[in-house]
């Protein structure tokens, strides 16, 4: 089918450079659902909100604005697949639209590279587009499923920066504004034929953000470990996320946790786009699941 909706596809760093499967999945699955993702050429790191926000917010604004301008030049709204990128790209876009002073400051800098931020586009997370029945919606996803993930117990990690802080977020679907006990991702998981599973402290952070993973790895891992304990208790077959950085923390993190704390979980961690890919019949090879730190095999056996 031909695409009804076109977006400039902002990749960020970790998806293309660590989990290319999720990038491939995002593009293929979206097309099946009537979304065309056009490459945003020359995009850079969003930049990492934790690192750059901590050093100098002005740099953060300017760097994110540059990525926004690239999309403005394409006259296309941005779609992305990472919570961290969402914080940078969406939030800076939002701030610059509402604070003239900030915008002028940023354009001052952009002038030096012949760019100007106009505030002419919007930014969306793929997950929110997937849930919005005006664009895709669970029903349409269910119809696109050729290989239902029947019997698989899947828990959701929402992450932080897509939905928090609630007070300055704006979503078509108000369900997404529920930051204490959201269930919209579970609806999407159910649409794939899998069984969504609740677990303690579902909304807790993965621990990687704010530069903590780099600053104090064991501290960051201890947070992830607490979540893994709760996930194990709920005995799930896989954890799904909508943020490659969270995915890195849980996937590669399990290896580091094994080294540092001597505990093992072997819990497969997949980006929702990867799950969607499987459900739409993509093979593990199409998704480069072999790049994952934790083998997805036991889970794959369940669902393939």
């Amino acid at each position: 089918m031909e695409a009804k909706h076109k977006y400039a596809f902002y990749l960020g760093c970790i998806a293309p450079n660590r989990y290319p499967g999720s990038e491939a999945a995002a593009i293929k699955t979206s097309r099946k659902l009537g979304i065309e993702l056009v490459p945003l050429k020359g995009a850079s790191c969003c930049p990492a909100p934790g690192a750059f926000g901590s050093i100098d917010l002005n740099v953060w604004y300017a760097m994110a604005a540059r990525n926004l301008v690239l999309a403005e030049q394409m006259k296309m709204d941005i779609a992305l697949l990472c919570n961290g990128c969402y914080k940078s790209i969406w939030e800076v876009n939002h701030k610059l639209k509402h604070h003239d002073e900030l915008r002028d400051g940023v354009n001052e800098v952009l002038k030096t590279i012949d760019m100007e931020y106009k505030g002419s586009i919007n930014v969306y997370h793929l997950a929110e587009l997937m849930y919005d029945d005006k664009i895709v919606g669970p029903a349409k996803i269910r119809d696109s499923v050729t290989n239902p993930l029947t019997g698989a117990r899947i828990a959701v990690h929402y992450g932080c920066h897509l939905i928090k802080p609630r007070k300055d977020r704006e979503f078509e679907k108000t369900e997404i504004l529920n930051t204490e006990n959201p269930t919209w991702m579970e609806e999407l998981v159910a649409a794939l034929g899998a069984t969504p599973v609740e677990y303690r402290q579902k909304m807790m952070c993965c621990g990687a953000g704010g530069g903590v993973r780099g600053y104090d790895i064991v501290h960051a891992l201890d947070i992830a470990n607490e979540k893994l304990i709760n996930l194990k208790e709920a005995n799930v077959d896989a954890l799904t996320d909508i943020c490659p950085f969270c995915q890195l923390q849980f996937d590669r993190g399990q290896i580091e946790i094994k080294e540092k704390f001597g505990v093992e979980y072997n819990l497969p961690v997949l980006h929702f786009c990867e799950l969607l890919g499987l459900a739409q019949g993509m093979s593990p090879q199409d998704l480069a699941l072999d790049l994952h730190g934790i083998s997805c095999e036991p889970f794959l056996q369940k669902v393939l």
Binding site: P20, P47, A51, F52, G53, H99, V109, G209, V212
Partner: protein, 193 residues
């Protein structure tokens, strides 16, 4: 400022003057934090909702409530030199729940910005800057990944600054505008020689 007692060093530390003095407080610190954070920490009534929401608090001495308190009182040194400042994972749970509608997370970020102005910053943050300066990416591509991308039928490098390197000078211009790379290099050198 705390008075020194002129004791031998060991005693001087043990019996250190722990009073808070009026001149420990710097109102301009409160102001600059409010300006950078675009939030209102001076409205804090110390209910502790933030700390109770914080994933870092139960596993460290990091207390966001105390940091906000330091902003209220303008205790600049105490706030900026405390290594806990860097333990916030920016999960925004505190911001979501604060009954006074303060954004404690953004308050922390503002304090980190001010700390950096005093060269107080963990090197890992600066390494990201250096990576982006050269590649445009905080987490750049590598050969294993390139191979995998090719296997997936994609280009070895994504259509970002990795493929379109002509955009990198622009990025460097922006970073240089704020002297970020220079400062990063200098500080990293000082720390690691």
């Amino acid at each position: 400022m705390a008075k020194t007692k002129g004791y031998p060093e060991a005693l001087e530390t043990k019996l250190r003057d722990r009073y808070m003095y009026g001149d420990d407080s710097h109102p301009e610190f409160t102001d600059s934090v409010e300006k950078i954070s675009m939030s209102i920490p001076h409205m804090c009534y110390q209910c502790g909702t933030c700390t109770a929401s914080c994933p870092s608090a139960p596993r460290s001495s990091y207390r966001i409530r105390k940091f906000v308190r330091r902003v209220v009182l303008g205790l600049e040194n105490e706030a900026l030199t405390d290594p806990d400042l860097w333990l916030c994972t920016t999960c925004y749970s505190c911001t979501d729940r604060c009954p006074r509608d303060i954004a404690p997370t953004d308050v922390i970020m503002a304090m980190r910005n001010l700390a950096f102005k005093r060269d107080i910053i963990p090197v890992n943050f600066l390494k990201t800057v250096q990576a982006i300066y050269t590649t445009g990416h905080g987490v750049p591509n590598n050969d294993v990944n390139r191979a995998a991308r090719v296997k997936l039928g994609m280009d070895a490098d994504p259509p970002t600054t990795h493929t379109y390197k002509e955009f990198i000078p622009g990025i460097q211009k922006i970073l240089d505008y704020y002297k970020l790379k220079a400062n990063a290099d200098r500080i990293v050198k000082e720390r690691e020689g």
